[in-house]
Amino acid sequence: MWNKPWKMKEGFLLGGGLIIAGLALELTIGAVNWDAFAWPVNGIILLGMILALVVMTLLYNKVYAIRFLCTYQAAIPTMVYAVVLTIIMGLNRQTDDGTWFNNMLTFWPFVLIYVFIAIILGLITLRRLSKLTHHITLRDVSFLLNHLGLFMAMVCATLGNADIQRLKLTAIVDEPEWRAIDQEQRIVELPFMIQLDKFIMETYDDGSPRRFASDIQLITPSKDTIKTTIDVNKPAELDGWKIYQYSYDTTMGPMSQISIFELVHDPWLPWVYAGIFMMLGGAASMFILAQRKK
């Protein structure tokens, strides 16, 4: 063991070591506190991570361990650990106040394995980029879209999570409202006002709901007023906020004089979407390459 070249066994030991380290962290400092990652901490961590990845890429030829991280023998065991840990997550009910298996997203071994996947993804992406020649093949493009896309989607979604604002706003017909409630029940003042003109509820013949919607006006400080309709599945958008139809006065049904909206602000969304669209391109190229291989 640990004779070069390292094989799958060493890969599994490395991942196993991370899990033990994660357990030690869980027992000493407790679960991962994602709220601590709010801006600017997440930005600094991302910058540090990219710098570390660049340095590691520069040391590629000098340090064997870094070369090993770019092999299948490192990637496959890590993915197997991810599958197993995520199965544990799937088999246990997840709750916000749960610990260990009941809140895997804050469970150090789970988090560390996914961080390790991100590190491997980052490394192999930089490595591939540094080896690109003038002749870029579809295979190169496919590789980069798949791996960099997943890296961006995963890392930005995770680091950006603490910056997401989810608010509830209750609007009464004809009364402009700018105060919303956050998840900790604190009042947040918005940079614009929402005025409910009319709540709409339609039902099928059997009484089951067919449509929930609200005719609203969005009143901005620059005095521009936007008239729009928010449906379930059709949120409105303003200044980086997405406004969703969330609820209504259920005792009144279609006669409801109020409408409850959810407002979501996610500054990292464009980066996550960039990753998702790269992965979509990667999937398309994977499809094309599979046809060609024969």
Binding site: V80, A82, I87, L91, Q94, R211, P235, G282, F287, K294
Partner: protein, 263 residues
């Protein structure tokens, strides 16, 4: 058009598919194509008529997704047959399809006409159809894996050449699965305000996705063991079953998933 008429379309399609599978064994390629395609057209016309009479895509209930699966299996089988000329693939795909058709005939679920607002989205149809096609391809890959694992003729050489086509099948299946998953993420952002919430269905989708990634990367490893790779395909497909319908029966997922179908 309603589920009462399903049995007539199903019988006609299945008979044609059996004919096609038999013609494939007899190396009668033309007949294979004509009969299988005719069967597919008949089956698809039922789906279209259901779509029209329901006034929504038939994708909501488990029974309706099985309908698509029964359709995509012979279609995937035919595509594989046209590329790699396996004589047995259409027999397998027809058999699998018949199983799903029988479940729909003998264990019909409540088929509702209404579509709740959360499902009224342009993402709905592509999300589910792409997933069903991925499931059909990966189902076919699983059958091939089982065939290779248990057939006597699997001498190392011939198995190795067949592994390449199995890889291709998984690549295409995984590509479609990735589309399905990411369409789901984009839809979730529009419907619920977030693209990924670790809903039990999403958790199991991630598990399945990573599991197939393990296979793909393992197959790229020099001197990999084909037998182990075949086992990975089977394990991945078992995990896929959890994602597809297993979570409906999973205590940890009950009441906490927006994807559990009660109808």
């Amino acid at each position: 058009m309603s589920w009462e008429h399903f049995i007539y379309f199903a019988i006609a399609s299945v008979l044609l598919w059996i004919w096609g599978a038999w013609a494939a064994w007899k190396d009668n390629r033309k007949q294979t194509y004509y009969t299988t395609i005719a069967g597919l057209l008949i089956f698809f016309s039922f789906i279209v008529m259901m779509w029209i009479s329901l006034e929504r895509p038939p994708l909501r209930t488990m029974g309706e997704t099985r309908l698509w699966y029964s359709f995509f299996l012979p279609l995937a089988g035919l595509i594989i047959y046209s590329r790699w000329q396996y004589k047995w693939i259409l027999s397998f795909s027809t058999m699998m399809s018949v199983v799903f058709i029988c479940i729909n005939i003998f264990k019909p679920e409540i088929h509702s006409k209404t579509l709740m607002p959360a499902l009224q989205s342009p993402w709905f149809a592509p999300h589910v159809i792409v997933y069903m096609f991925a499931y059909a391809l990966l189902g076919a890959a699983t059958l091939m894996a089982l065939y290779h694992l248990f057939s006597k003729r699997s001498a190392q050489d011939s198995m190795y050449s067949q592994m390449t086509s199995l890889d291709n099948l998984v690549y295409v299946g995984l590509a479609f699965m990735t589309f399905g998953m990411l369409f789901g993420a984009l839809w979730a952002k529009e419907a619920w305000g977030h693209y990924w919430s670790w809903d039990p269905k999403e958790t199991w989708a991630a598990i399945t996705w990573f599991s197939y990634l393990v296979y793909i990367h393992y197959r790229l490893t020099p001197r990999n063991n084909p037998k182990l790779a075949l086992v990975m395909i089977i394990i991945s497909f078992i995990l896929l079953q959890m994602c597809w319908w297993g979570i409906n029966y999973l205590p940890a997922a009950m009441g906490s998933s927006v994807h559990t179908y009660n109808q």
